[in-house]
Amino acid sequence: MAVVLPAVVEQLLSEMAAAVQESAQIPDEYLLSLKFLFGSSATQALDLVDRQSITLISSPSGRRVYQVLGSSGKTYTCLASCHYCSCPAFAFSVLRKSDSILCKHLLAVYLSQVMRTCQQLSVSDKQLTDILLMEKKQEP
């Protein structure tokens, strides 16, 4: 990953991944850490994971992109390789004000990676190009 999360977040996620392998759900202590680090975004992100709102879209080329169905019904595109989300909260709280490390959608993506639970969708290389381009055309 080119852009790294703060070390404490990286460590938490990798510890969670190890713990989940054993018990198939997140132990309480990690849930508490998540809440401490991310506040209300943690609960919202976990909710997104529970509702299977994250889809990993991949093409034969191996390139991947995530889409998250937000609570408003709108779909947001996330690039996990470099921490980008198309939602307004990311643009405002993370990029502009540096209030937050991640938005709830990106956090949901990382949690779904840890818990190995997300929808998978295979598309053609051309379709993946269109999905990535669509993001550019969307109104903010």
Binding site: L79, L95, T129
Partner: protein, 249 residues
Amino acid sequence: MAETLKRVLSRGGAAWSREENTPAAGPPLLLLGAPGSGKTTLLFAAALEAAGEGQGPVLFLTRRPFQSLPRGTGTALDPMRLQKIRFQYPSSTRELFWLLCSAHEAPGPAPSLLLLDGLEEYLAEDPEPQKAAYLTALLLDTAAHFSHRLGLGRDCGLMVALQTQEADSGDILHLSLLRRYFPAQCWLQPDAPGPGEHGLRACLEPGGLGPRTEWWVTFRSDGEMMIAPWPTQTGDPSSGKGSSSAGQL
């Protein structure tokens, strides 16, 4: 990319000797400087460096074709290396977006280095921050995809040049955004080690992987770039082409 640039600057343009082992590209790097500060020359030097490493082709993106190739940093251009640099000329932000979004469809071997000159021109077309963030993120995502295709623990480096204008406060918004995505930065600023001298100070911040390193950059009358380690506190500048990068700090 920071490591590749560091090798270029440390060698100060001396003979392009092969590295003994597989050099890593380092984290994505943002190269900043005012017009005429040598960003394109350095980008091109980094392209030649990576092309000589035998890792794969180099992809050089710039808005307009070169009228003439940059003079380089002190050695003759090696045609074998030049052949490995693929130039593409996205003439608008829209074209650049398309190029990056469709990079996974491009046939042929994945590049080992992705370079973009003149990011400021592409950002200026649509100054909206979310678009700027998406363009930047796509650059990183494209390099990450190339890394994935290279496989075997190899990385595709990323180096992007951004022209800065001190008086333009509009740049500041994008700058903080860009610094979030580019852990490593190299600043080219007018400076000189002593009175009566001129040139630029190249200051490389490798993004947490090591200390800041500095070089003194000047240009000969024919446009060729001369690089030397920034003088130590004794005020004794190294002459000509510096070959050692030992301890600037």
